[in-house]
Symmetry: C2
Subunit: 441 residues, 2 copies
């Protein structure tokens, strides 16, 4: 696959961008070593002082986002590139209550398109799970760590980062600091002549902008290559004369068609939204995420974000965080902004997201996954009978919120294939089965 001959950073962004794309050309994850065989501890990546040559995962030669190396990399991004702190502050964490229920292991479900039964426990290895947390009514009922992750470690959130960026924008809207109808050009004049200039904040938040921007990685002239070159935090080649950093690149994106008509999953929207947030708040997204979320939820770990060469955090996919801290955020969403008796942000933030986006616009995108769903403020809305919605990232990352079952599931994973269309069949029905079980308790 030619992808693996590309620079690892390009591969990194590429995988993020690929989320939900259904036309991947690989032969299926069946050809990959299974979760146990590909366990990074077993394979010994970066073990030893120094690690032997064949166990090294390095910049840039090692293609660190290729499988099975990515099973190590997803827990160790900061060791490979510059990052920025998302601070929890320095006060005491607020522990989450526990009421562990080992019976969850034995819950069975039928994977989508299959008639055989699979247990919850088996689904974890099937999905190359690195960490999984199930919370019910605010208590942890299930928690396991595998592969590169422990309770003291962190894991890349991939495109779940987008949902937190979208959450920050919803908070600004709810507090009257950001007008969702405002044209981006009025907020970030530098984007006036780009496709984003004529789009509204809401169109960017819901990714219904119409962009002359190709993410077809099979095309060596696709725009993503220029984007990833601009964003790479490592020093540019001497002959590089393109834009430097996310923001300079965004200025070059041109419009193609009419905004507001069809959903199009393009990471550049999130970075444009990140620019808006920074301009409105005067802060980097990483700092504003700390101010509004991380410092207020009793988080037990800091998080961090990758940055471009000029110190701008990657709002579209750069977050790395602890499993239980994402559980805290899922619970905060379930509790409509309430944490420990305090309203951290207005209830309307969550009801706006939960209501979902334009289903017709979503259907027009032609995505095969999440049929009948929508995308709102960078969250995926299932529009199912439980009102479930999710943050999702490639290789199996999710914060899955089921308001009816009062359940939050957080999964970190390192599935061999990026697209969640390969992971959903053994995860979405599993989440539903656990929700039904918890409802019946």
């Amino acid at each position: 696959m030619s992808l693996y001959r590309l620079s690892p950073f390009i591969s990194f962004l590429l995988f993020l961008i690929l989320i939900m794309m259904s036309f991947t050309t690989h032969a299926g994850y069946g050809k990959y070593p299974d979760a146990e065989q590909s366990d990074p501890r077993t394979l010994g990546w970066m073990q030893g002082t120094p690690p032997p040559a064949d166990k090294r995962i390095m910049q840039p030669q090692s293609n660190y986002f290729s499988f099975p190396k990515l099973r190590w990399t997803l827990c160790h991004i900061r060791e490979l590139m510059p990052t920025q702190l998302v601070s929890r502050g320095i006060s005491a964490p607020l522990p989450i209550d526990y009421d562990l229920d080992p019976a969850i292991n034995r819950i069975t479900f039928s994977p989508t398109g299959s008639s055989t039964l699979m247990t919850w426990a088996d689904s974890l290895s099937e999905n190359y799970t690195d960490g999984i947390l199930v919370m019910h009514k605010g208590k942890v009922v299930y928690e396991e760590y595998f592969g590169c992750l422990t309770q003291f470690g962190k894991h890349t959130a991939m495109s779940m980062t987008k949902s937190l960026t979208g959450l920050l924008a919803e908070i600004l809207i709810a507090e009257g600091k950001l007008d969702p109808k405002a044209k981006i050009a009025t907020l970030v004049p530098e984007l006036k002549d780009s496709a984003f200039g004529s789009a509204t904040v809401r169109q960017v938040m819901d990714m219904t902008t119409s962009l002359a921007y190709s993410e077809n990685y099979a095309d060596p002239n696709a725009d993503i290559w220029a984007y990833t070159s601009a964003a790479d935090p490592l020093p540019k080649a001497k002959d590089y004369n393109g834009p430097v950093g996310y923001f300079e690149y965004l200025k070059t994106v041109k419009q193609e068609g009419k905004h507001g008509e069809a959903f199009g999953y393009k990471t550049v929207n999130t970075d444009a939204l990140g620019w808006v947030i920074s301009r409105v708040t005067g802060k980097k997204v990483s700092d504003y995420l700390s101010d509004r979320i991380w410092r207020r939820i009793g988080a037990e770990q800091n998080a961090y974000m990758t940055v471009d060469a000029v110190g701008i955090p990657f709002a579209g996919g750069g977050l790395t965080a602890g499993l239980r801290d994402l559980g805290r955020i899922g619970q905060l969403m379930l509790d409509e902004g309430q944490h420990n008796g305090q309203q951290i942000f207005p209830e309307s933030v969550v009801t706006s997201i939960q209501a979902g986006g334009d289903k017709t616009a979503f259907a027009k995108s032609g995505y095969k996954d999440l049929k009948g769903g929508s995308y709102k403020s960078m969250w995926w809305i299932f529009h199912n009978n439980h009102g479930a919605y999710a943050a999702r990232g490639v290789h199996g990352q999710t914060i899955y919120i089921d308001p009816v079952a009062e359940m939050v599931i957080v999964r970190f994973a390192s599935f061999p294939v990026a697209s969640n269309s390969h992971i959903d069949p053994t995860s979405l029905p599993a989440y539903q089965a656990v929700a039904d079980y918890l409802l019946s308790k």
Copy 2:
């Protein structure tokens, strides 16, 4: 100064290596803008989204360790290069008690070689202080932040890192896991044919090895250039065929003369000691530092260390940490390993360090600073009437421990010139004056 045309990473290591060198060729810090003029907030480094071109501090073009950029850089290393976590764990921090005494501001002293009086408050700007903490009998009596630092931020510890590496080795010795008389070759066979192979652990810890290793930066063929090239975490040039990482480089260091006779401040010793620690414990220095110190002292922030291209933390100078957490470590030393009623490591660890190293070997080195002093386990021992000793790093970093006055001072600074010989005249007498004041209270 040709130094500033070199790669910034090379400058980085260079500055670390220059500590205590007295033959710098600059015209004196008098020619530099003062602390207020060079305040990174005033200069606007990396402010704005994105920061304007003339306000960017980037890899590798910006010479980020040149003054006044270093006044920003020393708080932001992780945003410029790969790093590794030194985890505090996830339990609640243990706050330090306060008994602030503003009268300390008015304490006066005569800078070394001067007959005029200077106040403590004035010494802080004179020394380009970024953060200063004075603890007396376990309580914070003075604390201020300037420039790039806040109580929520972190600052590079520079060569104070060495003292923590030395502390870990002393802990291993006290617990019988490391024989100070053992030859390095028996612990790290890879170093058998290097200068370190025939040296004892103690000789490496006290830097009395005799190494054919030049840190003369005026010489383009000096060994430090090969060392820094090996250590640079950024991708190597295509035609690079030298050693990769600290450890591969250490294997190439040759002996010159007899070990154990003279002190020679060479950072490679600390990285060799880091290798020993990793081999004995099976852990990276960053992880062992977390296990033995950071998780046990009620630390309020994580720390982190820079890494080379193969993930080995820079035991000789890579630590970045919060001011109060270094205060906790200083207090732990003052309390001879006791923290919160628990003996975290044997008392003998501190008494061994405090006893000091070979004063004759130290005098032979020809250093003009710290006359009558010694170097033991990577700590500087003053051998004064207060039994004071210190961790020290270029540009003004210190953890200064005065057992008689029951005082710990931690200073982070970004002095324009690396060598502490320029900083000591306005800091060491100031520490003594505060100690005398606290003793008289």
